[in-house]
């Protein structure tokens, strides 16, 4: 579903966010990108969503080389993608239902179809009764669930989330992560950037550890605990050797 091949990203201010990232994420996987802030988690997600373009290297999403997508093709590309943000990015002067409906309105569905799918999405995140409210009338956790409902309402094959639990207390964070897991269970590929190691430990999911713009560690399912330790102790020293090599044991 996602393949990064020796990807470098240097921003206009000279900061090198990614320094040769190679990774593979298979269709149907649920993957966490972890690492300290500034390690390159957000940059990877931005490259996937075509918010940024790589300085060097290639990014493949859904068997498509993103370098071949022209600016004109970006809206169509993004409409096949579900994106969740730490700050929710909800439109505050529109109702919850209107926020969730936005991708469907853009896709040009009929009002009846939109109503049906919005109700289904709100039901999935457990906020069916809040559809008439404005986002600011909801709690932070509820706002995040609205953001997720909006991301999944158009039934994307790929869902990416940047620190979706960043502002939530542990209990709410776990609920949100379990929500992502439920979408993953029905076949959606899920990529979540998060620095919350304890939270990830609760889940049986693959983890890609980043440090200073490189992949510094990998933890396959069932070995999350060990990988967390390995990453925290040895990541900086193994960084150069791990970078540039496709992670072992990951399907492509």
């Amino acid at each position: 579903m996602i393949r990064f091949d020796q990807v470098h990203k240097r921003y206009a201010n000279g900061r090198e966010a990614l320094a040769g990232v190679t990774l593979n994420i298979a269709s149907g996987e649920m993957v966490f990108l972890t690492g300290h802030s500034g390690a390159g988690k957000s940059s990877i997600l931005k490259l996937i969503a075509l918010i940024e373009r790589p300085t060097r290297g290639q990014v493949w999403v859904d068997t498509q080389n993103t370098a071949t997508i022209r600016p004109r093709g970006i809206p169509e590309f993004r409409s096949r993608l579900g994106v969740v943000f730490q700050d929710h990015k909800l439109i505050v002067d529109r109702s919850v239902a209107e926020n969730v409906a936005l991708p469907l309105i853009i896709a040009g569905l009929s009002q009846r179809e939109i109503d049906k799918r919005v109700r289904a999405a709100l039901d999935q995140v457990g906020l069916l009764d809040k559809d008439k409210l404005r986002p600011l009338e909801l709690s932070t956790g509820e706002q995040q669930r609205i953001g997720i409902a909006r991301a999944v309402v158009a039934k994307p094959k790929l869902l990416i989330a940047d620190e979706p639990t960043g502002n939530l207390d542990p209990e709410l964070a776990l609920e949100i992560i379990q929500l992502f897991k439920r979408f993953n269970d029905v076949g959606v590929t899920v990529v979540i950037a998060s620095h919350d190691v304890h939270l990830i430990d609760h889940l049986n999911a693959r983890r890609i550890v980043l440090g200073e713009g490189r992949v510094t560690g990998e933890a396959p399912p069932h070995a999350a605990q060990a990988a967390a330790q390995a990453a925290s102790h040895a990541s900086l020293h193994t960084a150069s050797s791990a970078a540039g090599r496709p992670p072992a044991g990951t399907p492509r």
Binding site: I51, E76, S79, L102, I106, A107, G108, L109
Partner: protein
Amino acid sequence: MSVEAYFTRHAQTLLGSLGRLVSTPFASAMTITVIGIALSLPLYLNVFLQNARIATENWNQAFDLSVYIDKKASATRTSLIAQQFRARSDVASVRVILAAAALAEFRSSSGFGAALDALRDNPLPDTLIVTPTLSASTPEGGAALKSALAQVPDVETVALDTDWVKRLYSLLDILRRVVLITAGLLGLGVALVVGNTIRLDILNRRMEIEVMKLVGATDAFARRPFLYSGVWYGLGGGLMALGLVEVGVLALSNSVTRLATLYGSSFHLAGVNFGTGLAVLMGSVFLSWLGSWTAATHHIKAIEPS
């Protein structure tokens, strides 16, 4: 996208844009008033011009003929010719201006008194001012009368006095061009005012546009509500311009009618007719749409999620 869904969506966007304008009544009223005033200026000029045309419509026919008599003819001969002309069925009246009287008037009014004294002979001829009857006051009738009078012995030349009407009409023509130029400049101003308003609106809603683009909106989709805002501004401004001009016409109407009565005319000040009104509304909507399209295309393209 089904056709029905397409139109439903456009209708919703149209009403949504109107709702947004209504939700900020003061700012919207300001913009609409600026458009209204800008468009009312050329419209006022146009109303003036239309009325000037109507008022002078009959003047073309109210002409006189000046008949210059041969200088060798005597004053008696001149009054005989005048009598002959008065007898014609297509002549309403004849006024005689004898050479001596004409010179005396010229001497007193021109200030060339001393210079005229140097002349041995009176250079002016006897003149008859011939006014045709109303039924003969057509371009053809005037021309026929002119050639008939020119046949009479001792008549030197016959001049048709329509030059001043021609001058008036070319003056009105210049005014018409002034109206067009003014309308063009102020129309450009309307497009710019709306464009600037839309620009501010877009900057205020930057975050919303970013979100839309993140979930797959095209520039055209994000632009649409702003284009509809432009259309509403144009419609509002056009209606305000028509209203302003109608109020002005009503305020002037009584005075103009009184003035016309003093001149024995039944002239009434006419307002904006239906065709012009429709053209003003369509032009206003188009200009506002153009302004918002330019601003929205430019500024929405510049907003990219980061």
